[in-house]
């Protein structure tokens, strides 16, 4: 490791698909052409999190952070920064800074973040096991195999207070202890990487940026519960994550950290990858197991719980990617250390995929107990285009919409439950004044209806009915009786559905009715959509006083619905208008009204 400087290039999906690969190659050739091959190493890392401003380049040891870097900037970075030691200020996040040491501490996006799960993302090359090991990787596994009994491992995880990060928040230590208590025999350890929640990509980034942490954690879990076989169930839609996992598995086998008689301890553990095929319901444990078994992914009633009777009838523990990524740190630093982070009932940190109408979209990790205001306004940089914040949705289609009055609620499992949402897997979608609440509820229901497996009636029929009512309301045909029916159906679905999908599918409806009833009422009573999203409710008119007769609207109208002489006020024929809104956008005199 004789390098003097390192150029880190983000290799997360968002950056890679934004010319990131070309940038990486351009930097490599710039380093070669400037004769710096022995001094400077170009490294492709996992996700640095700041996806909004990608592709990201970070230079060590100065810790300079460049944003929105293009392949053509590579030569400048090498010539100016590396050779002459001058910072390329036009590529900095804050262009006013000029010193060379402008690292991530100076960027508001990274303040208030605390990284446990993402500790190696954006730091190491995920395709090199040596870099993981250099950052204390596999140290926890060694400690566990040679100094701890399986029961002690379970106790340590219980002591940490870690809860499942997949959504429901079941204590991880307890789950392990159930499986550990089963008589010895064939047991399985499964990693749930079937991230199906739309608008969430935490697990994808973790696997792409630090695959070994998940492999190490699975092996530790296998030792703790007495399993010798693990499966990673991952979405087929994540080819890069699959490829990095395959590389990581091969490398750890080669190093004797996976396979037979690991490090000579006598403990053996194998990991196999199984591909999902696009079914949201497979996030439900029993459905996921059915899918690994090669069947349709339909859930089963519980009990028996998978920890007792799971994969092929054997005791099975299923943990989510983020849950597992915490494990190695808990075992090196101790459960007590971990339990001091977070709130009384929710320990540690949470990774969120912050997206929607926010200035800084990206992947963030914050301690439990951080407020939504800190996440959205301090880290996320506030709402795009100076618009007003309307709601935030956590938990994806299973969560609820959180209105502005709860911006200062500390986020943990209990608090989110109290205000009608759930922690979920980590999607955090921000909505602004231009988003229509009933329309978004319709979007989520459309998703859950499509993804319902159809096994139980409350979910299959209830979801469909809710969607029908929402469509009716958004079309301007809703009645007040529809609202009552929706409330009743939501309750029935939550109580009677077989699995988590159906039990939570009505959350977007329930929470939006609770906090945004006025918007539903407007749609029903006044036939009005204040966000201008529900096309059937829109009326376009031209203000004769403001119209100068420039004919711009008439020319752009695809339905020929606008008539009027040049330099005379124009009129919209309501019977012909298709409400496309093009006249509204094209008018320079604000003469077109939308109501």
């Amino acid at each position: 490791m004789g390098y003097k400087q390192y150029i880190l290039v983000c290799g997360g999906t968002a950056c890679e698909s934004n010319q990131g690969i070309a940038l990486f190659n351009a930097l490599k050739s710039a380093v070669i052409s400037n004769g710096l091959v022995n001094d400077v190493q170009v490294v492709r890392t996992g996700c640095l999190g700041f996806c909004e401003k990608g592709p990201i380049v970070k230079i060590l040891p100065q810790d300079t952070f460049y944003v929105e870097v293009k392949p053509e900037d590579a030569e400048t970075i090498v010539k100016e920064h590396i050779v002459k030691g001058r910072v390329v200020s036009r590529l900095l996040y804050d262009k006013k800074q000029s010193q060379i040491n402008v690292g991530i501490e100076g960027i508001d996006f990274y303040q208030k973040q605390f990284r446990i799960v993402l500790r190696n993302c954006g730091v190491i090359d995920p395709d090199k096991i040596d870099e993981y090991i250099a950052r204390d990787g596999y140290k926890a596994l060694e400690k566990v195999l040679f100094t701890m009994k399986p029961q002690e491992v379970v106790d340590e995880v219980s002591k940490s207070g870690l809860r499942g990060r997949g959504g429901a928040g079941f204590p991880t230590g307890k789950k392990w202890s159930f499986a550990a208590a089963q008589p010895a025999g064939q047991k399985y350890m499964v990693c749930n990487a079937d991230e199906g929640d739309p608008g969430a990509y935490m697990d994808r980034s973790t696997l792409e940026g630090d695959p070994h942490s998940v492999l190490e954690a699975m092996t530790i879990a296998g030792y703790a519960i007495g399993a010798d076989k693990g499966f990673i169930y991952i979405r087929a839609e994540y080819p890069l994550a699959i490829q990095r996992l395959e590389t990581a598995i091969a490398q750890s086998r080669e190093y004797g950290l996976l396979g037979k008689d690991i490090l000579g301890s006598g403990f053996s553990f194998e990991i196999e990858i199984r591909l999902g095929a696009g079914a949201f319901v497979c996030g439900e444990e029993t459905a996921l197991l059915a899918s690994i078994e090669g069947k349709r992914g339909m859930p089963k009633p519980r009990p028996p719980f998978p920890a007792v009777k799971g994969l092929w009838g054997c005791p099975t523990v299923i943990n989510n990617v983020e849950t597992l990524a915490n494990i190695p740190v808990i075992l090196t630093k101790g459960g007590l250390w971990f339990s001091k982070i977070g709130t009384a009932t929710s320990k540690g940190t949470k990774v969120f995929a912050l997206t929607g109408k926010i200035n800084n979209s990206g992947l963030i990790e914050v301690p439990m107990g951080t407020t939504l205001r800190e996440i959205i306004f301090d880290i996320g940089g506030g709402i795009r285009n100076g618009k007003a914040f309307k709601a935030a949705q956590t938990g994806g289609p299973s969560g609820g919409m959180i209105p502005p009055q709860f911006l200062d609620t500390p986020i943990d499992y209990e608090n989110l439950g109290k205000i009608g949402s759930i922690m979920g897997s980590g999607g955090l979608i921000v909505m602004d004044e231009d988003d229509c609440i009933p329309n978004i509820a319709k979007f989520y229901l459309d998703f859950t209806v499509d993804e319902s497996c159809g096994k139980c009636a409350p979910c299959r029929i209830g979801g469909r009915k809710l969607l029908d009512y929402l469509k009716k309301i958004c079309n301007g045909d809703g009645t007040n009786a529809d609202i009552e029916n929706m409330q009743e159906i939501s309750e029935a679905m939550a109580r009677a559905s077989l699995c988590g999908l159906g039990q939570t599918a009505s959350n977007p409806v329930k929470s939006s009715l609770r906090y945004f009833m006025d918007e539903y009422k407007e749609h029903i009573d006044e036939k009005k959509c204040r966000a201008g999203k529900c096309k059937n409710l829109l009326r376009y008119t031209i203000d004769a006083a403001k119209c100068v007769g420039c004919t711009a609207c008439a020319r752009v109208c695809p339905a020929n619905a606008i008539a009027g002489e040049r330099k005379q006020p124009h009129v919209i024929d309501k019977t012909k208008c298709i409400k496309c809104g093009q006249c509204f956008e094209v008018c320079k005199f604000h003469a077109v009204n939308r109501a």
């Binding site: 909004e52 929640d197 739309p198 696009g278 997206t355």
Partner: protein, 164 residues
């Protein structure tokens, strides 16, 4: 998976490589989904006549294969266009105008979603979250990702992929 393969013309049949893959997986429990992934990776969909062969080789009823294929969104029974367009309809993309992109695409292609254009060039589908929400709205053509897509840019993007 991402790059559309060019399957041979005529009646689709399992190749020796695919047969070897199936033989390798035959004894492993839970093999069906992995086998179907491999088949679809090669043909771009699950051809009916190939499904018969798979049923024979794995010694399972065809109905079981049909059940699995129709349960999961990922598996297709129809051959996609030469260029496969996927428009992300995850929440972030939906909020940022994914629907408008689909409407515009349908207009340009002259066919609805999940239908191949008469010249066999394109087929478009709406897909679940692709996990690059920072780039919303996102569209993927043959594995190449287009981020922050504007409806006005679609004609130009498609032209790149059209033959000729």
């Amino acid at each position: 998976m991402s790059n559309a393969p060019t399957p041979p013309a005529g009646v689709q049949k399992l190749t020796p490589e695919l047969k070897a893959f199936i033989a390798e997986w035959k004894e492993k429990p839970g093999n069906l989904i992995m086998v179907l992934h491999r088949v679809q990776q090669f043909f771009g969909y699950i051809p009916r006549e190939v499904a018969f062969e798979v049923a024979d080789l794995l010694e399972i009823p065809l109905a079981k294969i049909y059940g699995v294929v129709t349960f999961y969104n990922f598996f297709k029974l129809k051959k996609p266009g030469r260029n496969r367009i996927q428009v992300c309809m995850g929440t972030a993309c939906y909020l940022k105008g994914g629907e408008d992109i689909i409407a515009e695409l349908e207009g340009i292609l002259g066919v609805g979603l999940n239908t191949v254009t008469p010249d066999g060039e394109f087929s478009a589908e709406a897909v679940r979250c692709l996990g690059c929400c920072g780039l919303a709205p996102v569209m993927v053509i043959n594995g190449e990702v287009f981020g922050k897509v504007k409806t006005e840019a679609l004609q130009g993007i498609l032209a790149k992929f059209r033959k000729g």
